[in-house]
Amino acid sequence: MQSQHIMRSFDEELRFLANQIGAMGGYAERMVDEAVAALVGGDVALARKVIEDDLYLDLKEREIGEKAVVIIAKRQPMAADLREIVGAIRISGDLERIGDLGKNIAKRVVAVTEARQPTRLFRGLSSLTELALTQLKEVLDAYATRSAEKIGFVRDRDEEIDAMYTSLFRELLTYMMEDPRNITACTHLIFCAKNIERIGDHATNIAETVFHIITGTTMPPERPKVDQSHKIIATVPAAQGGK
């Protein structure tokens, strides 16, 4: 649909690239959300849809790459414009990987839900996914609105995701030790959790690219840790049980 547009200006070409990233980002976010929903709800049909959606991301990544090469060859852009185009290529690569990770989760749905699992097994994974999706959304929103200030928080959230993954890993291990019948499902769930954690890593990669596109500098490596006490590691306050 989009490709029928007649390209008039360089600006429009750049905008076209950004819109394509938007399309990819929307798909990747949806895939991760649906993959985990399929896992939690034991929805095999939804899992199948997610697996099919991955084809779209592969295709779009190729398209963006080719388009970017054409633009570079034709316009020979410099500085900011070049960063913009190369950045689009990198972001599309990360989004394609996120799609793969989502697909990977979807592929485990059948194995995990063969036997009905207690819901407590999934609770941690759901909140981990929520964190990762929030991270991804914030990063892509920052790309859309060109706001470099927001990107600094991404590192913090990445740490939060790591901590949550570690705690979830331990929790799933206890379930496995509690009851050997949980072992198969929990093993799959640990892999799923690992995939989500890696989605967070890709979101961080995108954040670095976006920062570079906007400012022309690389993101400062690791901010000095001043105060750890404000960190909330395990989310979901206990009072939530009430509503």
């Binding site: 938007g22 929103d141 859309a144």
Partner: protein
């Protein structure tokens, strides 16, 4: 077709009214013309024609006048409207609103939009900001002028759930500008979700009567196999239970709508004495399982209230069930009743001698899904809905629930019915 006829009828009626309004003048004119025509030796045909012309003019003339009046009335506002900046209008809209160009770039975002979706920078690409596949395509279709849906549903899941109905419309003619308008649907969606959760979770309420039937069947097959009298009694209880289960399903469905729509006070007369006796019998199995004896301390006189029998059964079943389950360590549960004099409120109190409930939980335990201790509740096959149902039913009856509890000593739940 019907509309056309309607329009024609309206037109005729309006014309008729006008003719009627100018009636005396028209009649006088017609008479004068006819006289003149006859006087001049005509057949009256010329006069008839002239009268026809007269009537038609009368029908049309006032319409023009009316129209002109209407135009003048609007004119004052229209002059203002024409010079009013579009941005003033957009800013006055309370819902998030974007104006965007044919490249999908944001030209204007009102305050509600910035508040909901973050500040918009100039040239912000809408298709990058609103990436969800259906939104992405929706915006593309709007720009290309393809006739598709006029509006779509858009949901943001993180960081917290929000749902919108979104419409995209071209502005004016040839401006190549479009408006994207968000209508918040989060509240409606939340209520829907709550209902779905509620029904799914509350279906556990069916398990209690089912388990009790299963228990009776077991007894009928085993110990009571040859006891004709017991068999008759058990079958009667089972019959009552299955009937109640069916009604319970109906109630669960309607209960989800209860919160939004307070019900009128029910009129049936219910004798609480009999009702509570029945509930005790139905829960005999559970009481035995929990090692609890249920004692009734109820006066001999009838204790009548206005209410729905099935619903009140649910109320006392839930209270007694909780007392047996959570207060089993006390070994006994007492149901007492009071009041009943003329103009006096009727009270029924269910008391257990279990662990009690800590003060900070008391105001909250009637909330849906609230449990003091999730593990204990789950072990007891609870879902945290029982007291929420109790509260809703009592509200429907104009009654209320008061709870007294002391840690280590037990709890008492009192239902207060208004005097009949």
């Amino acid at each position: 077709m019907q509309e056309e006829q309607g329009a024609a009828r309206r037109l005729l009626k309006a014309a008729g009214e006008r003719v009627a309004r100018f009636g005396p003048v028209l009649v006088a004119a017609a008479a004068a013309l006819l006289l003149l025509d006859l006087y001049l030796g005509g057949t009256g045909l010329g006069a008839a024609l002239a009268v026809l012309v007269l009537i038609v003019v009368a029908m049309l003339f006032p319409e023009r006048q009316e129209k002109r009046g209407a135009e003048e009335r609007i004119d004052g506002g229209a002059r203002l409207i024409e010079t009013l900046p579009a941005t003033d209008l957009a800013a006055a809209v309370q819902d998030p609103l974007y104006i965007f160009d044919e490249a999908g770039g944001v030209v204007y975002a009102n305050r509600a939009a910035s508040a909901a979706f973050g500040p918009a920078v100039p040239g912000l690409s809408l298709q990058l900001k609103f990436r969800a596949p259906e939104m992405h395509d929706f915006i593309a279709r709007a720009i290309e002028g393809v006739n598709g849906d006029l509006a779509i549903d858009y949901v943001e899941r993180v960081p917290f759930e929000r749902a919108y109905r979104v419409s995209a419309t071209p502005i004016g003619e040839g401006t190549r500008l479009f408006v994207l308008l968000f209508k918040d649907q989060s509240e409606a969606r939340r209520i829907d979700r709550m209902r779905a959760d509620f029904i799914a979770n509350a279906s556990h309420e069916l398990r209690t009567p089912l388990a009790s039937i299963a228990g009776f069947i077991e007894t009928l097959r085993g110990p009571a196999r040859d006891d004709a009298k017991a068999r008759e009694a058990f079958l009667q209880i089972m019959h009552d239970q299955t009937g109640r289960m069916a009604r319970l399903i109906d109630d669960l469905l309607s209960l989800s709508r209860l919160e939004a729509k307070p019900y009128g006070r029910p009129g049936e007369k219910v004798d609480l004495r009999l009702l509570i006796g029945g509930v005790r019998d139905a829960l005999a199995h559970l009481a035995k399982e929990s090692g609890v004896t249920i004692e009734l301390d109820i006066p001999d006189t009838p204790l009548e209230v206005a209410g729905h029998r099935d619903e009140l059964v649910q109320v006392f079943e839930n209270l007694l069930e909780n007392a047996c389950k959570y207060g089993s360590s006390g070994g006994r549960v007492v149901v007492s009743a009071g009041g009943g004099g003329p103009g006096e409120e009727r009270t029924v109190t269910v008391t257990d001698f279990g662990p009690g409930i800590a003060e900070e939980h008391l105001p909250r335990i009637t909330e849906r899904f609230y449990r003091v201790d999730v593990e204990t509740s789950r072990a007891q096959k609870g879902t945290g809905l029982g007291l929420a149902i109790v509260k809703h039913i009592l509200t429907r009856h104009g009654a209320r629930l008061s709870i007294r509890s002391k840690l280590g000593e037990g709890s008492s739940f009192t239902v207060h019915f208004p005097p009949p």
